[in-house]
């Protein structure tokens, strides 16, 4: 297979990139691990953050910019935050012109809802199914474009020749055939790595494949310790533990209560209360449960029943049916039980803010898999804005990159040896990858979770090293055709890289900031206003830290200065 641009991942970022590149005239192939239209974007509920000021007239890009930097706890890349704040409104209107529908105000403008950490009502939404609307709209657009789509393809390796991207190898799950994709550039839009944790809101797909592919190809990963714990995940029944309870419940007036019926957020955050940033609310819930004020299932209560059945069924139809069907709980009458769940990775592949290119020529990255925009904590609604804004930037710039360039050939014996490596996992008597996955996700949950401490993380790193050795014995029966077990082996290899990066970065960062909280370093420290970079140094994972670029004066005056307790 041959195309100017290869895009891996068909979530919002990948599809928006495909549309941009096709519009410029590039020849595009988009491959996806699942079926098209099923990507994790579909799970996004709350909305798209954009300062169109249809509801709160005072909103503007400057405030959106400032909120993003401040709630990202000052280690986000200001250039990306500026691009996002300025371009999100046009991306929303454009999505509407592609056919997406949003709820409306009385004047017929786009309805926007309040969300944690946003100064104004800023999230454009349709009920609590915004992600579905976004993905279906982009899916239609891509299906009607010239982009060629290959779904249920699992990419196993990126090939780099003379420092430049040359191609990628994938397994077509439905046939079991290997396909080599020769391309001049690649856009990695494979989403996050939430499934390296036991309790997560993330889909089957989110095993951090794109991070590992990029790392192995020589790209740098940044701020991998910054994992977002969403405050409200379901806890019961066990089969749905971790499943997301949208922040819109709180945005629409839901309150958090402990088992003493106390609205505890008044204590932790008297002003913003339930709508403080996610890291703050998640930690507060964690403390309440630790203090013994949680339910028998290890949860606190989230109550919206005071808003009445009509309101709830109209504004939160997905939540209503989710609780009714899975837990047998009627949220119009009873409170929900919720606890934090792994939701998002703020860190990821380091990219140039203006082009989304990585340090490897021809390799681009956009969406959750890329880092920089969200700093230490992502605001709700900024991820959907992110995939639209930076998806387009990736598509545009990949086109600029490939324009006039030639294909680079990959030797067939290199491809053959990769095929042999993958086929090597098919054997009798191999170690079950799911047992290893189970152990790894438990280690991450227990030792590199919402509350971290040095000794735990050192133990986690030791356990990951041990798992790496045992992973060499992984193997499954069957063939290459639709073999989830085989994918499981390949995923475990990727997850081990991602977990090592998370655990080691988390151990390095000796402070608490955003999604990263350490009981042994409970304060935020000025000397850690830095980004942690991890890279592949000849097979060994190495780390460096770099200072966060300073805000230029015209932007600095928009942002509340950073305060450190000890100064």
């Amino acid at each position: 297979m041959r195309s100017d641009i290869l895009i891996i991942g068909a979530g919002g970022a990948g599809m928006r990139a495909a549309i941009a590149a096709c519009e410029k005239g590039a020849d595009v192939i988009i491959v996806t691990k699942s079926l098209i239209g099923k990507a994790h974007t579909v799970m996004a509920e709350g909305g798209i953050a954009a300062s169109i000021a249809d509801v709160d007239k005072a909103d503007n890009w400057e405030t959106h910019f400032s909120d993003t930097i401040v709630e990202g706890v000052y280690i986000g890349d200001w250039r990306m935050a500026e691009l996002l704040a300025k371009e999100a409104p046009e991306r929303v209107y454009e999505l509407e012109r592609y056919g997406a529908i949003f709820d409306r105000t009385d004047e017929g403008k786009i309805m926007q809802r309040a969300f944690g950490g946003h100064t104004y009502k800023r999230l454009c939404h349709i009920g609590d199914k915004t992600g579905l609307e976004l993905i279906r709209t982009l899916e239609d657009k891509v299906l009607h474009s010239k982009a060629k789509i290959y779904d249920e393809i699992y990419i196993t390796k990126l090939f780099i020749k003379d420092g430049r991207f040359a191609g990628a190898l994938g397994i077509e799950m439905r046939s079991g055939d290997f396909i080599f994709f020769n391309a001049k550039a690649i856009i990695i839009s494979t989403g996050g790595c939430g499934r390296v944790y036991k309790i997560t809101s993330n889909s089957w797909e989110s095993t951090g494949d794109g991070l590992a592919l990029a790392y192995n190809a020589g790209a740098r990963l940044k701020d991998m310790e910054m994992i977002q714990f969403h405050p409200t995940g379901m806890v019961w029944p066990p089969g749905v533990r971790g499943l997301l309870v949208t922040e819109s419940v709180r945005g629409e007036g839901g309150i958090l209560l402990n088992t003493n019926h106390e609205r505890f957020m008044l204590r932790y955050s008297p002003e913003k209360r339930e709508l403080d940033a996610r890291d703050v609310v998640a930690r507060s819930i964690y403390y309440e449960i630790k203090a013994g004020r949680g339910t028998a299932h290890g949860a606190v209560y989230l109550d919206i029943s005071h808003k009445g059945a009509d309101f709830i069924k109209r504004k939160l139809p997905g939540m209503y049916s989710q609780f009714m069907e899975f837990a047998g709980v009627d949220i119009t009458k009873e409170p929900m039980e919720v606890a934090p769940t792994v939701h998002y990775q703020m860190g990821g592949i380091e990219v140039d803010p203006y082009t989304t290119s990585t340090c490897v020529s021809g390799v681009f990255a956009s969406g959750e898999v890329a880092s920089g925009l969200h700093g230490a904590n992502r605001l709700g609604g900024n991820s959907l804005a992110d995939i639209l804004v930076f998806g387009k930037i990736a598509g545009d710039n990949a086109f600029e990159f490939v324009n006039g360039k030639e294909f680079t050939e990959v030797l067939s014996n290199e491809i053959e040896s990769e095929i042999e490596r993958v086929k090597g996992y098919i054997r009798e008597g191999g170690r079950n990858p799911y047992n290893l996955m189970d152990e790894l996700t438990t280690v991450m949950e227990d030792y590199v979770g919402i509350m971290r401490v040095g000794d735990d993380m050192r133990a986690a790193i030791k356990r990951i090293d041990d798992l790496k050795i045992r992973a060499r014995e992984m193997g499954v029966r069957g063939t290459t055709k639709y073999n989830h077990g085989l994918l499981g082996c390949l995923e475990v290899e990727n997850m081990l890289i991602v977990c090592e990066a998370i655990a080691k970065s988390a151990l390095m960062r000796e402070e608490s900031r955003g999604g990263h909280t350490r009981s042994d370093f409970p304060k935020r420290r000025r000397e850690w206003k830095r980004n942690i970079i991890c890279y592949n140094n000849g097979g060994v994972m190495d780390f460096v830290t770099e200072p966060v670029p300073d805000l230029p004066d015209n932007l600095a005056r928009l942002v509340k200065p950073e305060v450190y307790e000890d100064e």
Binding site: V42, D140, W236, L243
Partner: protein, 248 residues
């Protein structure tokens, strides 16, 4: 899945279709509170026989990947609680689609059909940013809930019997979602009646019964589109007046 590994004396037997032997194989798995069919099937795939081919993704009834026939009823595995089923549980792949392996079927024809449906084409003269009434949003909202699980296609007896002639319920819903958009300018009734074979549907409402999103596929999409087709064929003025009626 470790929750499923925890000590439990309760066990269930689940019978799953295996394509290699073309037969159902029984598996015994531990039972947990609130467990759904997908939990049991995943347990089999992960810890009993990793070669079992399954398709799933979100496990939250939002992506529509895990459609199957459970005790002969088209359902999402992630949304079907074990405690709602009789003791005997039998899981089969969707029967209207070509089988790829075990519980996985080839649903790619649906994406081909989507490609043929004329895209959303907005009124270019509408002043930007657009003003749209909430009542018009509410009208199209129902059709936009579709998660493309294709259970409605699976249950449709027209598709099962005359595959090539009728696009099927999912795609009528798609057309309805576009047609109901207040700023759309196209008439897709010709497409639905000619290439789409809408006339083959004899309104048995089976699709509506299996929709996990509760979309009134027959009542609100198929019947409306059938009427629109008739009106459109004989009275284009009526169609135009419907299209512009929303303008306030």
């Amino acid at each position: 899945m470790s929750d499923l590994n925890s000590v439990s004396n309760r066990r269930i037997t689940i019978s799953i279709y295996r394509s290699e032997s073309r037969s159902y194989v029984d598996y015994t798995v531990p039972l947990e509170d609130g467990m759904v069919v997908l939990d049991a099937v995943r347990y089999v795939q992960e810890f009993i026989d990793t070669t079992l081919a399954i398709r799933w993704n979100c496990k939250a009834a939002r992506c529509g990947s895990c459609a199957a026939e459970i005790n002969n009823m088209p359902k999402l595995m992630c949304k079907t609680r074990i405690d709602t089923l009789p003791d005997k549980i039998r899981v089969a792949p969707m029967g209207a689609f070509t089988n790829v392996s075990d519980l996985v079927t080839d649903v790619s024809e649906n994406y081909m059909i989507n490609r043929q449906i004329p895209e959303f084409k907005p009124d270019e003269r509408a002043e930007r940013p657009w003003r749209i009434a909430q009542i018009d949003v509410d009208r199209t909202k129902e059709f936009r809930k579709c998660i493309e699980c294709f259970l409605c296609q699976d249950v449709c007896h027209v598709i099962r019997e005359h595959k090539a002639d009728y696009v099927g319920p999912r795609h009528v819903v798609k057309v309805a979602s576009l047609d109901m958009h207040p700023l759309d300018t196209l008439d897709r009734s010709e497409f639905l009646n000619r290439e789409g074979g809408l006339g083959f549907c004899n309104i048995t409402k089976c699709c509506q019964e299996v929709c996990p999103e509760g979309i009134h596929i027959t009542d609100n999409a198929i019947i409306q589109e059938k009427e629109r087709a008739v009106d459109g064929d004989y009275d284009p003025l009526l169609w135009i007046s419907r299209k512009i009626r929303h303008n306030r």
